[in-house]
Amino acid sequence: MEAALQIKGLCKVFGHVPIIKNVSFDVYPGEVFGFLGPNGAGKTTTIKMVMGFLAPDKGDIIINGTNIKENYEKAMSNLGGIVENPEMYKDLTGRTNLKMYARLHDGVTDERINEVISLVGMSQRIDEKIKKYSLGMKQRIGLAQAILHKPRVLILDEPTNGLDPAGIKELRDILCHLAHNDGVAVIISSHLLSEMELMCDRVGIISNGTMLGVKPIKDLLEHANGGTVSFRFLTNDIDLSLSILNGKFSKAVTNVTSGYLDLSIPFECVPLINKKLVEGGVSIYGITQNTASLEEAFMNIIQRGGFDA
């Protein structure tokens, strides 16, 4: 399958400081790609180069098969997105803003505009001026603008910023629908790792201007902990559990409290341990994968400076 977005050997220098050093990655249609990295790693700079704010010093950006150097307008017509906070013309209404943007694209009808407005849940307030909108509403209008022309590649920088939990869930549903049903390549950069974990199919990690690697999110979690993931077993019978696990799995226990045990084990071992505990007479109230684990994985990778070090 051909990549929807190809980034090849991207370099950018500000003054004399190299900010982006030979960054390359591909994003495929139908996937949600998480773009991760600590502050100042070069996430936004990379995204701004893709979106045309900054000119790359070296390297190529190919959107839906078209290099932006060769046919800028054709390449950009397949791209939609929001950089940092969505900013619009504050004295104009949401609808006017969308109409103005729609004019710059081919084939965006009034019906399409209305469809997108109801998709992002802004039908009620669309004829008010932008300056009356909350940050969350601006995010929704920003998303509406970004998907108005049905782009093949959608880039969102911190899209959950300012959204309430219900809004975040709606956004997640919209993005997953776009990726998995419409085959859009969605790229998200965020600091909220738990969100990323829920949404992304693959993640790419950038640190200090260098791309550390791209992995499916499941592999990343396992890889980071040497093929193990942290799972939480909810139970009251801590002592009994510990005695059952004593021996082969004693090393796997990472955390013990009165209500649960944290075990660092490979994915495949979860049913086995569960079976052992249940057979040993322990009441298991639930098993969850620890959400902090992506964070740990992320920190590990950043500290080690790569996947393989």
Binding site: E73, M76, P86
Partner: protein
């Protein structure tokens, strides 16, 4: 092209949905309306002050003079009675004073008798009274000489006759005789050549021909005919007496060509009665220039408006972040810039059209259509007319050159500095501070390079409409550099300047990163 057009429509939406734009246009409309209205009042009061509102208090002046005369007589008697050594000198002085007073009493009596204002009047009778006054003054010394000089005695006789004739002219309001009298004095003048005499005589013929009653727009006609006379004499003598900057210099080929054309224009204007612009103190002058003034007045507001929009065009979008939705759109940056430039030009054009309709409409309403005088120019000695509407449209177009160049400057600052306050402040400041800057530069500097100080080059009206009887809201010629600079130089220079500023703006916007 389609994308460019879409961007252009978006820019227009942004401009015309901005409240400040509408407010500024309304301010312009209101102030231009107010200005026109006020000028329609003030022209009538200026003129009435000049021609009838203020009356001379002739009776009071006469009474005061009679009192003075009585005092003088007493003092003369006292001096005659005295036998001191310097009494003779005092007596002579007092006797002269008595004659002056008598002369003035004679004139005031004449004024009262014929109903002429001694001071607050413009008419041939007032001119005749001035002449009487002059002859009476000359007679004082001539009479003294007459006792031992036959020639002087002859002249006394002649002057006395003149005073009598002129007094009759004033009493009878007899314009024809006045013209004849004037021609007679030209005939008697021995200081001029026959050809010059002919020109002088024709002046009076034309005066009588065009205004047989002598009561009409005497001043404008007189000025126009004086121009014609002056131009003819200048051509005859081959010496420039028309252009004050080259006064009394031999005529060059160009000067001669110009004066010939100017003569054709003046003759044409007299023939067609286009005289309002020849007398800047007349009511007709105020009326005829009202549209012009309103355009100049309103252009200031348009300039401020367009400079604000140009000065914020790029910088405000960057400051508020709204540039993002433009950059993300599939359009090249030069198209974004071009759309902005086109939208600004459209705004300038539309507001100029509004101003034109407004000022023409208001002035026609307040002053009537009769004052719409076409602009007359000439080439190869043949006069041609430019219709009034086309003339005012050209004035409008030339006025907008300054708006456009200054807006290009504001746009350049906005693109390069990305600071709205600086761009708007500096461009508007330069626009209004220009006269000060130019004065300092042109008075303290000299040399060819001063031609490249851009500010004075905007004064083009006076150099384009060279055959206009007056300078039109234009200060060309106030400072030395522009009068001698050809119009074409200014046009090319301003064009090069504007294109350079535009190229720099485009280059900066196309290639600089937006962080």
């Amino acid at each position: 092209m389609r994308k460019l057009f879409a961007l252009y429509i978006n820019e227009l939406v942004k401009i015309f949905k901005r409240v400040s734009v509408l407010v500024m246009l309304i301010i312009m409309v209101v102030l231009v309306g107010l200005y026109t209205l006020l000028s329609s009042f003030s022209y009538s009061s200026v003129i009435s002050d000049f021609l009838g509102g203020a009356y001379d208090d002739t009776q009071a002046e006469l009474a005061a003079l009679k009192e003075e005369r009585a005092t003088l007589e007493i003092r003369i008697k006292a001096a005659q009675a005295s036998s001191s050594t310097d009494a003779a000198a005092t007596l002579q002085e007092l006797e002269s004073d008595l004659i002056y007073t008598d002369n003035e009493i004679y004139i005031l009596n004449l004024c009262i008798e014929s109903g002429v204002q001694r001071y607050n009047e413009v008419s041939f009778r007032r001119d005749a009274i001035d002449k009487i006054s002059q002859y009476l003054f000359d007679l004082i010394s001539l009479r003294r000489q007459a006792s031992n000089d036959a020639e002087a005695a002859l002249q006394v006789e002649q002057y006395e006759k003149y005073v009598e004739t002129l007094s009759d002219i004033v009493k009878n309001n007899d314009y024809k005789s006045y013209i004849e009298f004037s021609k007679e004095s030209v005939n008697l003048n021995t200081d001029i050549t026959d050809e010059e005499r002919e020109i002088e005589l024709e002046y009076y013929d034309l005066l009588y021909l065009n205004d047989p009653s002598g009561s009409g727009k005497i001043s404008g006609l007189t000025n126009a005919l004086l121009n014609i006379k002056n131009e003819r004499i200048s051509l005859l003598r081959g010496i420039n007496t028309v252009d004050t900057a080259k006064y009394n210099m031999p005529l060059s080929m160009d000067d001669e060509e110009y004066i010939k054309n100017k003569l054709a224009v003046d003759l044409y204007n007299v023939e067609h009665g286009y005289l309002a612009l020849y007398d800047r103190y007349s009511a007709d002058y105020s009326k005829a220039t009202a549209v012009n003034n309103a355009i100049t007045f309103g252009t200031v507001f348009i300039a401020i408006l367009v400079m604000i929009l140009a000065g914020t065009a790029i910088s405000k979008e960057i400051a508020t972040g709204s540039i993002k939705s433009l950059i993300i759109a599939p359009v090249k940056r030069w198209k974004i810039m071009t759309a902005k430039v086109l939208a600004l030009l459209t705004l300038t054009l539309l507001s100029m059209a509004l101003l034109f309709i407004l000022s023409l409409g208001l002035c026609t309403l307040l002053f009537g259509t009769s004052v719409q005088i076409p602009y007359v120019y000439a080439s190869a000695g043949k006069a041609k007319e430019l219709s009034y509407i086309l003339y005012e449209l050209s004035v409008l177009g030339i006025s907008s050159v300054k708006v456009i160049v200054y807006s290009a400057f504001a746009l350049l600052l906005s693109t390069i500095t990305r600071n709205s306050a600086l761009s708007v402040g500096l461009s508007i400041g330069t626009y209004f501070g220009v006269s000060n800057i130019s004065t300092i530069l042109t008075t303290t500097m000299s040399g060819e390079w001063t031609k490249f100080i851009p500010f004075e080059h905007f004064n083009m009206l006076g150099r384009i409409f060279t055959y206009s009887p007056v300078y039109i809201n234009d200060y060309s010629g106030m400072f030395g550099i522009i009068t001698n600079t050809p119009l074409m130089f200014s046009v090319v220079y301003l064009a090069v300047l504007t294109v350079t500023m535009m190229i720099t703006s485009y280059d900066s916007f196309n290639h600089r990163d937006i962080k």
